[in-house]
């Protein structure tokens, strides 16, 4: 019989898989349990953009740290992961947004992130499909793109090679006090339990505030050379800021297959996965406004996904407020793919009692209790 696991990870999305890989690499005996199959939740619907964000120091720290980890990993990633160092192009529609471009440029430069300001002509040279009258943009060449389900598969496979076990199709009913109990009654005891259960994280750990934020994506047929970077409008940041309103923002991605991924939308309170025709139409019209010839491309599939969102837009990484043996690794909103590797490192450092590479305070779940206490 196998020796009992030292760490049980609930959830085989990219965050759970990254944690499994990291912990197994440190020699710990890991068991990953997923209610379905890996990437069945938010990971399977995700865009796969690896991006450095500057919304706050804490957001910058974790996205930058994680991006470096992805770069370190890139040579080991098999073809199916489709790692593409295409970079991000943030586009500015007007002078107002150009001001934001300059602010971002300074911010990144001060922190050692390579960035380049492009004027109206240069931004079109970088992406000929963009409409003529844009004010300019910011190119961040260090950003990249992966195919999340296969990235998750790679991380899980690595974990398995290092001795981890993965259980599929096993819903977890409860975790706590060193035990994970499956819906069928089976009990696993472990020193640490990691709640990487995505949308289900609040169900398993009390006191954590994670709410689903629905998004839509469209993927086209293959049009090689249509797009070269992940292109995002600066208005995206306004969209990501709103806590209540439905919003859309221009966000397109070239896949290595030559297919174009078109997003993005954000809705709070939507509780079903059905495609919302009117938000879809708004999202596409927004995209056409920036890249007119998207109209002509053949759309093969539309799908929805739920980003697990926290009120302060930072993930929850650390001990659950009620039970220190449970570590929460959830609430990554639209940055789950990007920050998965850093999340794993931070979780690992907590388990091993080591100093984390970046300060962990901003991500501790206990902050949510404190925030609520002040309301």
């Amino acid at each position: 019989m196998n020796k009992p696991a030292e760490v049980v990870i609930v959830g085989a999305g990219i965050v759970g898989a990254a944690c499994a890989s990291e912990l197994a690499a440190e020699g710990l005996r890991v068991l990953v349990i997923d209610e379905g199959f890996p990437s069945r939740g938010s990971t399977g619907a995700a865009m796969g953009h690896i991006v450095v964000m500057d919304d706050s120091e804490a957001q910058f720290a974790i996205t930058r740290y994680s991006q470096i980890l992805w770069d370190d990993l890139r040579d080991q990633l098999p073809c199916a992961v489709e790692f593409d160092p295409c970079g991000t192009l943030w586009v500015a529609a007007d002078e107002n947004e150009m001001g934001e471009v300059r602010r971002k440029f300074d911010y990144y430069r001060e922190r050692g992130v390579n960035a380049e300001i492009l004027d109206s002509q240069q931004v079109r040279e970088a992406e000929p499909q963009l409409r003529a009258s844009l004010a300019g943009g910011l190119r961040v060449p260090g950003d990249s793109v992966v195919y999340p389900p296969c990235a998750t598969g790679f991380l899980l496979q690595r974990a398995r090679h290092l001795g981890a076990r993965v259980l599929h199709g096993q819903p977890v009913a409860a975790i706590g006090k060193g035990v994970a109990r499956l819906a069928d009654g089976t009990v696993f005891a472990a020193g640490f339990i990691i709640n990487a259960a995505g949308q289900s994280a609040p169900r398993l750990s009390a006191g954590i505030n994670v709410k689903p934020r629905k998004g839509h994506l469209v993927i086209t047929d293959r049009y090689p050379n249509f797009l070269h970077h992940q292109v995002v409008e600066l208005g995206y940041l306004t969209s990501a800021h709103s806590l209540t309103a439905d919003s859309v923002a221009f966000n397109v991605q070239p896949r290595k297959t030559g297919q174009i991924l078109i997003g993005s939308s954000r809705q709070y309170g939507a509780d079903n996965a059905a495609v919302d025709d009117s938000i879809l139409a708004r999202m596409l019209q927004r995209a056409f406004a920036y890249m007119p010839d998207l109209r002509l491309l053949s759309a093969i599939r539309v799908w929805t996904g739920f980003r697990p969102a926290t009120p302060d837009k930072l993930p929850l990484i650390g001990p659950s407020p009620e039970d220190p043996s449970v570590l929460v690794a959830a609430g990554h909103e639209g940055l789950g793919i990007t920050t998965s590797l850093a999340t794993a490192k931070l979780i690992c450092s907590q388990i091993l009692g080591q100093r984390p590479a970046i300060p962990i305070q901003p991500y501790l779940p206990s902050r949510q209790m404190a925030a609520e206490a002040h309301v």
């Binding site: 047929d221 293959r222 049009y223 297959t257 053949s298």
Partner: protein, 81 residues
């Protein structure tokens, strides 16, 4: 009414009967319709517009299902098979 139609497939003139589809013109020219993602030549499978194997570019527009398009005089067809 003319009984045949003349189109060009990869620059080569091909004549088919009036009412024939572009897929038939491509087959008549000896070309395959497309090259698959792993490099295989592909030609029509279902003949009824559901398999997407017969995709070619017609008058510059790519990804057209050739079995669903009737040949018109002087059409320019690019088959990448």
């Amino acid at each position: 009414m003319s009984e045949s139609v003349s189109v060009r497939v990869n620059g080569k003139a091909v004549t088919v009967r009036a009412g024939a589809t572009v897929a038939v013109a491509v087959l008549a020219s000896g070309a395959a319709c497309r090259t698959s993602v792993s490099g295989q030549p592909r030609s029509p499978l279902c003949g009824m517009g559901t398999c997407f194997e017969c995709r070619v570019a017609i008058n510059g527009e790519p990804q057209r299902r050739s079995c669903q398009v009737l040949c018109e005089s002087n059409m320019e067809i690019e088959a990448y098979g």
